[in-house]
């Protein structure tokens, strides 16, 4: 419980920092630490595969993608003054409303009332078996989606070379 709250607090703090820091690259790095915090939360819940996959995919690839995107577009800009739009009051009101609705739904649902069974020990072996038998169709569809994304990326890059 203590570790959960510490990790949650850390992740929240870093996520807030990622929103409100002035320098864009600092924001990206704070977001990376938030991903690491999430991975630590997964690991604390004994989900080894998801935790490590989170580090591998999010920190190893998505964070770098974000960083590349920042650098290739506007990295050398001077830090902006903090962005607070004029209608920030309305924004906060909407956020509080949504949070209230979600919280009420979760609290009043049956999830928190019931006695929770012990968390099952999922091994990677079982994950693999389930993926290959019960969830085969979603796996293949995701594979198809990724292939389409790759081919699209290659086509975009190729066209840029031809028009040069």
């Amino acid at each position: 419980m203590i570790t959960l709250s510490i990790l949650g607090l850390l992740t929240l703090t870093v996520a807030i920092a990622a929103m409100s820091l002035r320098n864009l690259v600092h924001c990206a790095l704070a977001l990376t630490v938030a991903f690491a915090g999430l991975a630590a939360l997964y690991l604390q819940l004994d989900a080894q595969f998801v935790g490590f996959a989170q580090i591998l995919v999010y920190i190893g690839a998505v964070a770098i993608l974000i960083v590349f995107a920042i650098l290739l577009t506007r990295g050398s800009e001077t830090p902006q003054p903090s962005i607070l739009s004029p209608s920030w009051l309305g924004g906060i009101a909407v956020a509080v409303l949504v949070f209230g609705v979600l919280a009420m739904t979760i609290v009043r649902s049956s999830v928190t009332g019931r006695h929770l069974p012990a968390a099952p020990q999922i091994s990677v072996h079982q994950l693999g078996e389930q993926l290959m038998t019960k969830y085969l169709l979603p796996l293949e569809v995701i594979g198809l989606l990724l292939t389409a994304a790759l081919i699209g990326a290659v086509i975009i890059a190729m066209q840029e070379k031809e028009t040069k």
Binding site: V25, F49, F52, L56, I59, I64, G75, V124
Partner: protein, 387 residues
């Protein structure tokens, strides 16, 4: 004799009260690993310089101690007492954190590599996944180092370094996946157990199978690219852009980058030994009285020697050559290797499966190689003179 470190650790841990024994045990393992690998790093620097010197027909450093063996001490003292220069326009927080973000994950990665029988710091069920996850975090430090100097050239170096590291991560992981598939587990200890035993006098290591050999070579090449080691050291470019993305670091931070790079090399070599070379097993049955950690570190030193040898031999790859090699050769090879390993698993043991799998590995190799060579227009040089 084989378990001397394990028993001495148990004896030391026995002194602590029962509640904090796991923590004390973990701390002792960690301290042991850091000490051993730091000393190995020092030895490797001097071995590399002397080895490269001999390859290039000259002596290496031979002034500091007898045959120069105290050179790392001199280097360490120099790195520590140098002034720590931070450029005025640099982003000081990111500049400070970049070496730390490099060194911490690579030491973490050493935690799952078994260095002897029962000598792994943490035996995780998803050990290999942990290793690759932690290895992916090192790329971030490259970016931080390159960006924080606010220097266009180091930024360029960082971009190229990250592109290189990402491109070579895919064949690295795919070669490892081949082994995981055959061994049936992600845990490093179980992978080593799957390579125990001897058949026809030869050990049953994965490297002695057709797909294992191809996988090992792919893994080694990708490992050299991951740790920015020659011939893939374009980001570092010692003779071109001086030090590339860590040009603005001096003194101890530079030494930390150096340390991180070398320990990364040790970690990935350690994983290669675990996955392909049978971990701490002896190569022949009659040699198994020699302690297991001796074999592990012997194989590690052999791989380091191969890295040094390749560094002294090959010229640096250009960026586009590097990327072509990764995506057009190594990735298809790794995928075909995966299929071949699967076919190997399902055929009966015998000469037929050797022949079929060797053919399945060599055929694509030759075809991909010819495809790669077609792109390069290497002909007679055309001289154009001003008239």
């Amino acid at each position: 004799m084989d378990q001397i470190f394990v028993t001495s650790k148990h004896w030391l841990v026995g002194f602590a009260p029962a509640q904090c024994q796991p923590i004390i045990s973990a701390i002792i393992s960690v301290v042991g690993i850091i000490l051993v690998f730091a000393i190995l790093f020092a030895i490797t620097t001097i071995l590399e310089r002397k080895g490269l010197g001999r390859i290039q027909n000259r002596y290496g450093p031979n002034r500091v101690g007898p045959f120069g063996i105290l050179q790392p001490v001199a280097d360490g003292i120099k790195a520590l007492i140098k002034e720590d220069i931070v450029p005025r326009t640099a982003d000081s927080v990111v500049h400070f954190l970049a070496p730390l973000v490099l060194v911490a994950p690579v030491f973490l990665a050493l935690a799952v590599v078994p260095m002897g029988r029962n000598m792994v710091a943490i035996d995780m069920d998803a050990g290999v996944l942990f290793f690759f996850a932690v290895g992916a975090a090192t790329e971030l430090s490259v970016f931080m180092a390159g960006w924080s100097s606010r220097n266009k050239y180091s930024l360029l170096g960082a971009m190229r370094a990250i592109a290189q590291m990402i491109s070579y991560e895919v064949p690295l992981i795919l070669s490892a996946v081949t082994v995981i598939m055959i061994a049936g587990s992600l845990s490093t200890v179980k992978i080593i157990e799957a390579q125990a035993g001897y058949a026809v006098g030869l050990p049953r290591w994965f490297v002695l199978t057709p797909w294992g050999l191809a996988g090992f070579i792919l893994f080694m090449i990708a490992a050299a690219a991951e740790s920015n080691r020659s011939p893939f050291d374009l980001p570092e470019g010692e003779s071109e852009i001086i030090a590339g993305y860590y040009i603005d670091y001096s003194g101890f931070k530079f030494a930390l980058f150096f340390l991180g790079e070398y320990i990364g090399m040790f970690a990935v070599s350690g994983l290669a030994i675990t996955l392909f070379l049978g971990g701490w097993h002896a190569p022949f049955a009659f040699l198994s009285w020699i302690p297991s950690y001796f074999w592990f570190f012997g194989k590690l030193l052999a791989l380091i020697a191969v890295f040094i040898w390749v560094r002294g031999t090959l010229p640096r790859l250009r960026m586009d050559q590097l990327m072509n090699f990764a995506w057009k050769f190594m990735l298809p090879m790794a995928l075909i290797n995966l299929v071949t390993a699967g076919i190997w698993h399902f055929l009966e043991p015998g000469i037929s499966r050797w022949l079929i799998c060797s053919f399945l590995v060599l055929g694509p190799y030759i075809m991909l190689a010819r495809g790669l060579l077609q792109g390069s227009n290497v002909g007679k040089r055309i001289y154009r003179y001003a008239d």
